[in-house]
Point group: C2
Chain length 445, copies 2
């Protein structure tokens, strides 16, 4: 054994192409973002959910075809055909259908977990990435007011993340579909795809493409009028009501949109954070009512950083129960990458939770460990430098990890039962007799 061990060659350490892992200072930031999202989701009373990353292929891929199926990590072990989940929605559908009788509805769950897609590697796209999802599932029905709460959750989440001002854009698929129906447009999907190019190619080019698709000139004008409606949500709602379109689907969509907007104030969402955008449609095959997108005000080029919507049947592949729902997803790995690239997330500062590095001198190890434990138990994360070395190396450790205070503990500190702390940024020193005194000092500095 020992011989073969010595002869063993070194394997070059590396990870799979398209995968990502973070260095400590990045990981600290990422974990803090995750924690913030989790805390916000929980503040709305959502229940955590955690499903297996590996599922039966026949179950996971019940619905999927085309691109999704190609991207899935699917394999067999023994006789079992299994696959890595590619989102958190399909596992949610499977979970709710499977445990239907044991759940309390509306079922409000959050799930923060990794998903897998074997996409072509490209900048900011990862084959393993985090999604942070929240969904509310009704049993048979689900009031429209739930759609309003989702906007409030988006607002609270991005407010807490502190990554800059943002706008939640909402729209309603029924309103769009009804409008198109009223104007005799049948190929809704294609029309929306063309309309989606408005910002890129301009109104004239979009109009041209619509006509080429066979849309009448009058309908094309109407579509362009609708999708270019601007102003705050109250103005847009007023304009939509004035349109007096007699299509029933349109009217239902409008009343849903109206109901969602009506509660924005109650949820305390600042008016500038929320707007109706009649151009967004999202997941054309999937969403059936409200749809959401979220943009950073100063970085619209990042695209939507949080999206979702209302769907009629969550789990039609797994059950005959009618399970309507509404939810959103944050693609956190991609968002984090983009924030770093854009310089919005600063990677300076602490890369350990520690607030204090205790450094014992000769003969004070026991006292130092006890003091560190006292601070820790009082809620101050801290650590003790426990290895041999010169003082420079020890201070260097605090410095490199961005630990804000170093506490060198000599015989004087031990004799006086005090702790002398050095501010690693300013170099200033101060002595405290208790954790309470430290907390007071820290607040002032």
């Amino acid at each position: 054994m020992a011989d073969t061990k010595n002869e063993r060659s070194i394997v070059e350490p590396s990870i799979l192409a398209g995968f990502i892992e973070l260095l400590p200072k990045e990981q600290m930031m990422f974990t803090r973002m995750q924690d913030t999202i989790k805390a916000t989701f929980e503040s709305y009373g959502f229940i955590p959910l955690d499903t297996p990353v590996l599922e039966k292929s026949e179950v996971l891929l019940a619905k999927s075809g085309g691109d999704t199926a190609k991207q899935v990590y699917r394999f067999t072990k023994g006789d079992t055909d299994m696959a890595l989940r590619f989102d958190l929605t399909v596992p949610l559908a499977r979970y709710v259908a499977q445990h239907y009788g044991e759940l309390v509805f509306p079922f409000r769950r959050y799930h923060i977990g990794k998903v897998y897609r074997g996409e072509r590697p490209q900048k900011g796209r990862f084959r393993e990435f985090y999604q942070c999802d929240i969904d509310i599932i009704g049993n048979g029905s689900l009031g429209i007011i739930n759609d309003a709460e989702i906007v409030s959750i988006i607002n609270s989440t991005f407010e807490a993340l502190q990554i800059g001002e943002f706008t939640v854009m909402i729209n309603n698929r029924k309103l769009l579909n009804g409008f198109f129906e009223a104007y005799g447009v049948t190929d809704t999907v294609e029309v929306l795809r063309i309309v989606d190019k408005l910002d890129k190619i301009g109104e004239d080019a979009v109009r041209k493409e619509l006509l080429e698709l066979g849309v009448s000139a009058a309908s094309a004008d109407a579509i362009l009028t609708l999708t270019s409606l601007g102003g705050d949500y109250e103005e847009i709602l007023a304009r939509l009501k004035e349109m007096d379109i007699s299509n029933e689907t349109f009217q239902i969509g409008l009343s849903e949109l109206d109901a969602v907007c009506a509660q924005m104030k109650a949820f305390g969402i600042p008016k500038e954070r929320f707007t109706i955008n009649l151009k967004i449609a999202r997941g054309l095959d999937y969403y059936t009512g409200t749809v959401y997108e979220t943009y950073l005000k100063d970085y619209p080029e990042l695209g939507s950083i949080c999206s979702g919507g209302r769907y009629d049947e969550l789990a039609s592949n797994y059950t005959k129960q009618s399970l309507p729902g509404v939810g959103i997803s944050i693609g956190l790995s991609r968002l984090f990458y983009q924030l770093c690239q854009a310089g919005i997330v600063s990677l300076g500062g602490r890369k350990t939770p520690s607030e204090i590095l205790f450094i014992p001198m000769q003969g004070t190890m026991g006292y130092t460990l006890a003091k560190a434990q006292e601070f820790r138990q009082a809620g101050i994360p801290c650590e003790t430098y426990m290895n041999e070395g010169k003082m420079g190396k020890k201070f260097g450790y605090a410095d490199k990890l961005g630990i804000p205070f170093a506490a060198v503990i000599g015989e004087d500190e031990m004799a006086g039962n005090v702790v002398t702390l050095k501010n690693m940024t300013t170099g200033e020193q101060f002595t405290v007799g208790s954790v309470a005194e430290y907390k007071t000092f820290r607040e002032k500095n």
Copy 2:
């Protein structure tokens, strides 16, 4: 499209054999345990680490053979041979070797994540399970005092988890190896395997097996004397010193054990939580010094619930750098299952983070949503029942989720700008004018 959709058959929702997922009330408990472990690890200044679940097979399996390799979920996608990690230690070794130049040493990291082993399905053994690991990695060397801190971390973690009293047992591989060497025993592994049966088959049977292995009668007696040493750690250390064994490895092991024990008091570890157990050996091929096991006092039959130890070379497969370390792992999924089975973790109580369910009456939705938001922003997780239904159903929702308070908001509450709360257990009602008043009331009840 629509036609094939209607004809689609229902796929029976289920998960893979040997995999597990929790119902909401269990998941809440599990998530709370995870959060507690994370918070404790962070209180010692450890850095979060998160590596890919999928790794290159050649890298992940550089060292492994035999049982481990058979259990691994390994497959190819395109030309790439990949595998799901089976522990968090190999990825740590790969990570430290790969990013060696970018890390600050000692590198102190925690990692809470899922690992995969295709074991034969059996009660309490899962093919996907959580490990909660903490390791301290030195660059070239790592002081023995780090081994003492690990005991402190185990103590703090299980104290915080509140799953009953426990004992951390420690031993030292050098001490054992040196002792066996001194008594001319060569087959250390086999001797330890026999000694491990002491509690099951008794001293006489163990003695018999040792003799059958070729151990001399004098050596067998010595081994049995050593492994049956009892008392608190100070007594055992005194007895070990009295033995006056001149083997150098033994003496190094003894001084390490002595050094670890010497700091227990400084870390504030109660004496009854910590003992030397000369029978434990763990991971015979891997650990080279201190080893740890942890047992629940009232449930020793659960086996060790937190184990680990000191190793000389973390990453010898990936680098020529000498990276000694010390660490522990908690197999959380299995532990949680065992705690539930033993009735230690009670599954009653809340299965949502919500403290209050707000129930709006006709015409008070806006006021209710605003009030709920006010409570939420003051740190009280809460939710609003936003769907149609009879009062009984709404109270039933609070009841089934174990939400402690329901706040029915009628016109009177709105007019008075107050919230009337009903204690869901006692039925008692009380009215509060502010969140502060609610908090005061809650503390008293």
